[in-house]
Symmetry: C2
Subunit: 135 residues, 2 copies
DNA sequence: CTTGCTCCTGTAGTTACTACAGGTTCTAGC
DNA sequence: GCTAGAACCTGTAGTAACTACAGGAGCAAG
């Protein structure tokens, strides 16, 4: 499998695959006699794992830890669970934040009189925010 | 007001204030005779506006547009409303995505047997994801 | 044998900052 | 007047996770 095939198989950009190799989450693959990268099914599985973890919001350093854990099946599961737990907490706090943003944006839009900017609630809402406390 | 005062007044990092000047969202301020930046109340208001917009998830190019609109009060409100509307849509889609991530993470964690990695549902859940379609 | 595709390396650009190096200026205390 | 230490200045580089491009090589088809 050349890099283009792996890209099509996994939906991951070619440049991103090479980036993952530089970043140390994909091992340097074997090379064909002409110097081109040669991948196998294991690489596709690993890349699929990485892609899914990234889509779940794990950063590459967490992915590295998860991959290392995966390679020692006798190790404890707690590290993986802890990473997922902290990821869940981050997701919960992003959720709470986004919910309040949605409310504020909805309110801004519904209050916009569709008149002149001087009467526009959108800009006023943004300007008003500066006096409110923020955590 | 020197840059440090403005920073304390708005809660925006000094380096970030200088960055905003380079990025063209804060106008280059007057300088004291010693070359130091000198700000007024209008700058603090503008920076508060920028900060609030950034907290709402607007990127700097949207902030630039909103600021430009703000400066021509005779213009139509529709541009501002449209920016807020597209922002709302982005927030809604991020919300939907995060909600499903939360469910998947919760499930992963609750199914983790807290045994060996070989039985770990967290890693398995990530590996399994690769065969599922993603939009 | 030329066109065009895929691949290679290496570097620079992206966003929104943040951090540092190396230098100047101001302020307070002695 | 002198010195220590803030606070400020410019300019550059680092961050994450890519993305894009320059410039060159190999390969397959017509």
């Amino acid at each position: 499998m050349q890099i283009g095939d792996l890209s099509r198989a996994t939906g991951v950009n070619i440049e991103t695959i090479r980036y993952y190799e530089r970043a140390g989450v994909l091992p340097p693959p074997a090379r064909q006699s002409n110097g081109r990268r040669s991948y196998g099914a294991a690489d596709a599985r690993r890349l699929g794992f990485i892609r899914h973890a990234r889509e779940l919001g794990f950063d590459l350093s967490s992915v590295r830890v998860l991959l290392a854990l995966q390679e020692q099946p006798e190790a404890s599961c707690e590290d993986a669970s802890r990473i997922a737990q902290s990821q869940l907490e981050a997701v919960e706090s992003r959720l709470a934040r986004l919910l309040s943003l949605r409310d504020e944006l909805s309110r801004m839009i519904s209050e916009c009189g569709r008149g002149r900017v001087s009467e526009c609630r959108v800009i006023e809402a943004l300007a008003a925010g500066q006096t409110q406390p923020h955590g």
